[in-house]
Symmetry: C4
Subunit: 491 residues, 4 copies
């Protein structure tokens, strides 16, 4: 210390004055020379900034950042004032020739948070622009009438804020999505299923026959019509002779189904049979068809008007749109080429998966609900953290299921995989109560499992959530912020 | 870079000194001219601030904000020191002719948070003042005696802090609300229901008959009185001959009811019948009537003394007050004009809804518990975020219910709508255990559902909560802060 | 604006230089005069600080705070730099004669948080010192031997850090608390209960008879001993003749109890009888008595050595200590004066409540676990927020229970009070599954209830938690910080 | 106040100019002398920094920190600007001779947080380096060929980023861990268990016999082979005569097992017998053996190549590795020395514990998932907070279980320890529903328990989580940050 002080006192003659944007800094020349690679140690460069009239070195830079730099030279530790924005500091550090990696441990996290946030927000804005507006740059002179027309439709479809009618169209689009989802869900409910005998409209009967490529015993058709479909799948249950006199048999059966429905409601046979023997309500069929028509039309319009077909097909949004309508067409094509009789179980399962893809229609809402887009974007951006949560949960799952198996293997935990479900249900604190420990050791393991779950979730969720909040507030504010006019600055 | 440096060195002769409130800034004249629209690029304006004696431009402004502005001109990026309050910066930016939209991405969220908070707190204060005090500005000279009297009552009713007696009145008001709610709840409990035979006070019998417009077999009246009401509704159960000898029949029936109550307690018929055959305890009736009287009196007093009838009726608080008392009057009127015999099922349902409106009385507490008001205000202010949470939950509900239906449609999930309930119960981690998956696929979907629920809630709740905390702390502190004397400042 | 500028330009001649601790501020004289009440508007006072040699007003104050003050005068809005500590600013504002209530809305919350935290930490430190160390200030000269001795014991009992042996004593004390709690819990478990016939030690038998003032059929005593106690309470069950031949009858009964224990385990009679017929394990009795002895001894020592008897008895900690030992003595006294035979049901209930007070022993841990003390302190300090949470939960409880009652009154929700339990269980997301809605409306109300619960908890808990974290970190750091030497400063 | 001011005015002649790094501070000489121990009160020392030419004291230090120091001298309260990094301030305080304990209450927590974070991050980096890379410092000249080779293998095994092949190896290692865990879990599932009769490969039969030291009735061996094992343990069930004709008997038995599996699936006898009568699937045996081989080989390689055997064996990671493989060898040795027939129940239990140790293999993932390491590190670092959480939960558990016992001891809570499980399940909001209160008092206690649990968790988890987030972000950023070149600075 004493040596240090002496040198300073001795060196007091050669203090240097640095005028940084009007702010005067004074330091020993030796201090400036301490960091070899920095610009301040380079006498040649420094000389260029010397002003003889005032006897100082003048730099037209930010004085706050320079104060941090000078403190670095003085103390050998680069600390950053927390009130200074990271990216602005970065520029200054570059100018003064200081490596940002010299920032001390305590300030590093803070500095890096600024930088990472900045970069991720930049990425967010870029991705958002890409996924939503996808502007057409019109060549104003040589654009044909069709090009101008196309661009108008594109804007109309893509940007609800472009005009009043585009906004109305957006709402119509949302309503179609909701109707489609409603139909998808309602179709499975007994309330919205009718027996073929109840459908009296001729045209509806045609539609049902076209859609399912099957024949039903419509009320106006005589009982003599052979119930092809039922025959084939029920072959092992009902003898062919019985099938020819199906009508009088089926009626009491289905009555029976609904009479004592309470008891055998969950009986597998009953459920499948009921589903096979009933049809979705005509109104749902109409909704389904009109939604399909609307979505198809919209998708084709978009595709045709899209300025870049390749970019269009690579956008997640459009892929979802396509996945949500294609299954219906595949089903139709499939039924056209493969009429009644050869539908095996495998094909039925394939049909079910196809039908499930309709669920994608709900993700059409991404276009209309910015929060939804941000959530999915956050999940994508926080993929590492999500994986970490999964790893934590999986490890907890395996560990606690195993411990439980060894603690009370005889009481419901007789194999480890069955304990997985229990672990997850306990760690997420859902606790259905279908499985629970029943011995002392089991109680202790169960308690640890619940606490471990709480900690696991408490550890990983905040990191993901903070990203979401960052993105959400940014987009919220961003929606109100007009595009920055970059040409305002004259260089 | 080199070109840049050269120009700066060349331009070192024309540095400009800016004296901003005593703080000296020095920069190249070229730097000042870089932003066309700013005040600093405008030589004409600048000249007015020139002081020849000291050779600088003097501005009586905040030097910190100017440092940020100057850094903007130097680097082309507008960063804001985080320790500077947003609204104060805004004023400075306006003075220097810089658009706040030029603020960089990294500082924008921060700056906007300040601004938004400020604006929402201003709104909060405005709304709070509107909803609570609604001051009468007295014309001191030409106010009549009635006006002065009215104003006194108004203050007494509205502001518990105005006097000691107003505080006591506020507590009395709270007690009436609690009594009213207690009566509302207790009335449905068997402990507080009595059989008509047990009521011996003549006046209570009159009240019951007035309130329900019905006749009961009071203990002191002979068994010969016809049980009109019971006759009519029980017509399909008991033959008219039996009704004339109702008393000996009813007694064992009700005994039976309470004897084997454990088994058929939840039997619908039993529950409804028991409710019909019993009356609320006389004390509850007295409480009910006195609460109605108190609330009516208070509402009328308020209305009469209110300085602006229109504003009064548009206030949410007063609407709640009104909704909480009107049903009782409607019920009375209804019963007066429509005595026994014509009460169908539809009217009964309408009565039930009317009765439910009494529940609004609990929201009279808003007046007395500031936290409650803030919570409701937050929910209103965070309506978008609440909607987002609902959209997330609904999408999760639909997606997981559908997946579950396809995964284990045969075991309790045989239609999608029934799965909605399961999804919500799982996503909120309540997990009643009335429905739970039972197959491998179901387990996986169930786990995903629980995790999705946790994330959904973790994503949206913090945004709403942060608003609540902001409002709550503001009001907490604000209650201790006397009104700012705006005239203190002399211009 | 133009007028404003002109005045400023015109006034440029009379700029004032303020030297605040070496930092030069320059402003128009008119600016200084804008706030009437401030010190800067008072020319008389100001003159005293004028230094003719340098032509400025010199104040030896903080320049940062003055910058904020000057900006207030310039703009009329008092904003505070967020990096400045509230209490330090407060002093400066007082000096410059500015009212802290002039702080703008945006900075007010921030400033107040600083102040409130400071005050609550001060209170925390004060309360903590009071509740824990309660130092004796020794009059070093005229203290008798007894006083010195007393002070030593006091320090030994009160402060585990005072010496090595005091630390060991603290651990012994913790062990006694844990043993006492273990005994309290284990006593109720069948594993730790023995039948009187199994106790063979004579001295233990004496202890049992002394403690319970009852006679038992000890194994070495002949079967001729009359089971007094059983006789009296079982009078209505067993005829007196049978009681004289009780032994051969009791034995098979209790065997029966344990044989088919699985079925009638929860049968009330069985449970009560079993409890009456068995005694806690001798080891537990020994533990209980030694704990009582230790706690009594410690309490008396503390009381005797306590420097102030009044303060001692007013401390929560000592009240808990007393409440935790007194019930045992009351029980003993009670039994001494009221031997067998007259113990009615009322007295038994009183005994049970007395016994429950033993649970207070667990709160002796407050002395040893600082976190526990902080938690209780936080709950006390956040009483308003806790009340708010309760009000929210109660309102939610009433509202959702009522809605549920009207939605599905026939299915388990047939009175509102029973729905309270369901509401609370749902709102805290526990969801036992003992009650759950079963209709469509019920599902919707249930979902809303769960979401409302999540929000309610999310709203109120963070405010309480933030206090806890503040206190906890403060105490954590405070434990490492030696007392500040206030005399270091020479005035 | 007046006296104070007068002294200042009087003292205005002897203001002192301090030039701190170019920033001028001016104060009264008396102010400097106020703190006896500080360097500024020491005239001798101060004189050394005096510059007569400019009449000021020049220090080449940070002016911001000095501003805080000077404010301390002025006001007697040491407040710290929040934008200044703690560790950098610490250095300055040391230089100016000010004790950091003088920092005021309001700034102390903030300052200490900086310091504590810094220290804990330093510790984290140190521990991380120790646990992961454990570098070998090569003596470049006198290292033998073996040493160089060894070092290469070490780097290859230890650092996946060292080369492309090391990365592939890391993935192979992860896959082996997953396979091993898969086998561990699957082995207990009926799907992966086969009856000895189904194994036809001779070599697999040998392996089974070697591993279990037991004989089975292989399909290609005649039914005449005696089922030794089964005989011995089933001795009390099947008579020896029947055992000789075991095959025809066993077959229908096991069929029976799987036919009516639904009913007696959880029957203890059945479960144990089934386990004894079946063998893990051959593929699982192969996986198990190859994992054991791989892990053993890796462990030996690591051990041999480890630069320091002692450090190696003290690392947690390596202990886990060893614990995960040793049980298998112990089992093998045990079986070799103790063949069939003498395996008692005690040994079986010991075997089960040995087998459970295999679960440790899952913690080999620590090497590959940094987040996992950080979580465990956080739990270790937050040990105090975890303990606090446990103490809170345990106290809550005891209190609520006791209250519940007294409130409804007759309905499922007839001893306190059984209530512990209920308390924990309620406090963690899992709520299985296996136990729940059923009386009014029980409802109130249950509600309080749930709320207490929510608060308990809300109180303690955030403190632990904030540590995790700190560590996680630090490591995340640290992984991207190259090691700081400490020699860059020339002194
Ligand atoms: K739950
Ligand atoms: K549950």
């Amino acid at each position: 210390y004493t040596a240090n002080k002496k040198r300073r006192r001795g060196g007091s003659k050669d203090t240097v004055k640095m005028n940084i944007g009007g702010h005067i800094f004074e330091t020993y020349r030796s201090t400036l020379r301490r960091l070899k690679n920095s610009m301040l140690a380079n006498d040649e460069k420094l000389k260029l900034y010397y002003r003889p009239e005032s006897g100082d070195y003048f730099f037209d830079r930010d004085p706050t950042a320079f104060a941090a730099v000078l403190n670095y030279l003085r103390s050998g530790e680069l600390h950053i004032p927390t009130n200074m924005c990271g990216p602005s500091l970065q520029n200054e550090l570059v100018f003064w020739g200081i490596d940002e990696l010299d920032i001390e441990r305590c300030c590093w996290t803070n500095y890096n948070t600024w930088k990472t946030q900045c970069r991720s927000l930049e990425k967010l804005e870029y991705d958002r622009k890409l996924s939503t507006t996808q502007n057409i740059i019109l060549n104003k002179h040589n654009s044909t009438c069709w090009q101008r027309y196309r661009s108008k439709i594109w804007t109309f479809l893509q940007d609800p804020t472009s005009s009043r009618i585009a906004k109305i169209y957006a709402w119509v689009s949302i309503i179609f999505v909701l109707l489609s989802i409603f139909s998808f869900c309602a179709e499975t409910h007994p309330m919205f299923r009718v027996k073929p005998q109840e459908i009296e409209s001729k045209s509806m009967q045609k539609i049902y026959e076209f859609l399912n490529m099957d024949k039903y015993d419509w009320p106006n058709q005589s009982g003599a019509v052979i119930l092809d479909h039922q025959n084939i799948t029920n072959a092992n249950l009902t003898s062919p002779e019985e099938a020819t006199v199906a009508e009088p048999v089926v009626e009491p059966q289905s009555d029976l189904l609904y009479d004592n429905g309470e008891e055998d409601y969950y009986d597998e046979e009953t459920y499948r049979e009921r589903k096979r023997k009933t049809l979705p309500h005509p109104s749902l069929v109409v909704i389904d068809l009109s939604c399909l028509f609307f979505f198809s039309l919209e998708f084709i319009s978009r595709f045709v008007c899209s300025p870049s077909k390749i970019k269009f097909m690579r956008s997640l949004q459009n892929i979802i749109d396509m996945v949500a309508i294609i299954p219906d067409y595949i089903e139709m094509i499939f039924l056209m080429f493969d009429p009644i009789g050869r539908k095996g179980m495998v094909i039925m399962d394939f049909m079910i998966i196809l039908r499930m893809l309709r669920l994608c229609r709900i993700f059409r809402l991404i276009r209309h609900v910015p929060g939804l887009w941000i959530m999915l974007y956050t999940l994508k951006a926080s993929f590492n953290e999500l994986m970490l949560m999964c790893v934590f949960l999986l490890i907890g799952m395996v560990v606690f299921a195993s411990l439980m198996h060894f603690a009370e293997g005889n009481e419901g935990y007789d194999n480890i995989p069955i304990g997985f479900w229990w672990s997850i249900v306990t760690m997420t604190t859902v606790g259905y109560g279908d499985m629970y420990p029943q011995t002392g050791f089991g109680y202790i393991i169960g308690s640890l499992c619940a606490i471990a779950g709480l900690l696991t979730i408490a550890f990983t969720v905040p990191i993901i959530v903070s990203n979401f909040v960052l993105y959400y507030t940014h987009v919220q504010y961003g929606l109100a912020r007009r595009e920055k006019d970059v040409e305002r600055m004259q260089e």
